[in-house]
């Protein structure tokens, strides 16, 4: 199960250390200056490293750190992971 540090690490690889450290968990990536290309890249890194597959329909939900963590938790619950 991914955690906040994992998401921040993915952000760091795409948008740099400052953004990764400073972005509040509830702030949308767009408001933090992360555009749709970088957003896509962040989600790809999470998919490659943590097998978190975000379908296109869930893109809006997964547009903040909290949103990604909530989506990942639901996926975990749905698959019975622990």
């Amino acid at each position: 199960m991914i955690n906040e540090a994992d998401v921040r690490d993915a952000i760091k690889g795409v948008a740099g250390s400052d953004t990764a450290m400073q972005i509040p968990v509830e702030e949308t990536f767009a408001d933090a200056g992360i555009d749709s290309l970088d957003h896509t890249n962040i989600l790809l890194r999470l998919q490659e490293r943590h097998n978190l597959v975000v379908p296109d329909e869930a893109l809006d939900e997964c547009s903040s750190i909290n949103g990604i963590l909530a989506f990942a938790q639901r996926q975990e619950d749905a698959t019975g992971g622990g």
């Binding site: 555009d35 290309l37 896509t40 890249n41 790809l44 998919q47 490659e48 296109d56």
Partner: protein, 318 residues
């Protein structure tokens, strides 16, 4: 023993007309900074309304043949395109054959591939020539997306440029063509699609995910298959899909400035983008080139080019 076929020369035709993306930032709701750092294309090349696909192809061929190659010596003409003349029949290669007044025993056909088409074409034409004892052939790329791009579609209108290239293959090559690596993920074929409206639609996220995850691995396999480590490659000639995708793939390869973006002033020219790099962005000291094309299919193809002789000239018409 059949002679080994490789690349002797490359020429291109880029239409003079350009669409200025900087003038369209407000229309598409993007900033100049985004255009520069992410999309990368300030301008995209546009063919004239009177020009069809075979006209672009013939103009690239004329530049190649003007440098001293008689058209009667051509034994095959293969055109990579998915936007042929008129309604798609006959094949573009037949029109080019006529324009060049080539011999009647010259093998002519089209190859339906998109952005990966140049590497596919190199492999197909090399195999065709070697297995049939042909000494001289043309691989042409001509795929003007202006025929299918909706000029009001933000996802595609600022990306694609028109161009054509002609590559002379023969038995006295400047570049030897190595083993190739091919990838297709047909389950994502709708990510680049021409629909009933005859216009291109693109799922940018699906295309990006495929390219970022697949291309670096394909390039690594191609290098490995040819006994070359990534560190020995002088230049990575990556399909110029956008600055962002080129930068992402280059970073994943650890290519640094060996994997550059050069298409700012003409756009993503589909299967022409890799041969344009080969013609214009390779120096006399570059000896090992890794090529990779990727896109429609979704498909990817990578290979390695090795300069044949130390003194070797540059790979373009003078």
């Amino acid at each position: 023993m059949p002679k080994v076929i490789g690349i002797e020369r490359v020429a291109s035709y880029l239409p003079e007309q350009r669409l200025d993306n900087l003038a369209r930032t407000t229309e598409f709701g993007v900033t100049q900074e985004w255009l520069e750092s992410k999309l990368g294309f300030f301008q995209v090349a546009r063919k004239g309304v009177e020009e069809d696909t075979s006209d672009l192809a013939a103009k690239a061929c004329a530049k190649l043949l003007d440098s001293g190659v008689p058209s009667e010596s051509l034994e095959c003409i293969v055109v990579v395109t998915q936007n042929p003349d008129g309604f798609g029949l006959p094949h573009v290669a037949a029109a080019v054959h006529s324009a060049l007044r080539a011999r009647n025993d010259c093998v002519c056909f089209d190859l339906s591939m998109g952005c990966a088409g140049y590497v596919y074409g190199l492999s197909v034409v090399k195999g065709l020539m070697e297995s049939n004892g042909l000494k001289r052939g043309l691989l042409i790329t001509a795929d003007p997306y202006s025929k299918i791009v909706d000029t009001s579609d933000r996802d595609t209108a600022m990306i694609f440029g028109d161009a054509a290239t002609a590559t002379l293959l023969g038995s006295d090559p400047v570049w030897e063509i190595g083993d190739c690596d091919f990838v297709t993920d047909g389950s994502e074929r709708d990510a680049l699609l021409v629909g009933e409206d005859r216009q291109l639609s693109m799922n940018g996220r699906a295309v990006f995910n495929f390219c970022a995850s697949t291309v670096p691995e394909s390039v690594k396999r191609a290098c490995s298959a040819n006994g070359v480590g990534l560190g020995a490659v002088d230049k990575f000639l990556l399909h110029q899909g956008s600055r962002y995708i080129v930068d992402t793939i280059a970073e994943r390869l650890g290519a640094g400035d060996r994997g550059g973006f050069y298409a700012a002033n003409y756009g993503n020219t589909v299967s022409s983008s890799v041969p344009l790099l080969l013609e214009n962005n390779v120096g006399p000291t570059d000896r090992l080139l890794a090529l990779s094309g990727f896109g429609v299919g979704l498909a990817c193809a990578s290979t390695l080019l090795r300069r044949v002789n130390d003194e070797g000239g540059e790979c373009h018409d003078q």
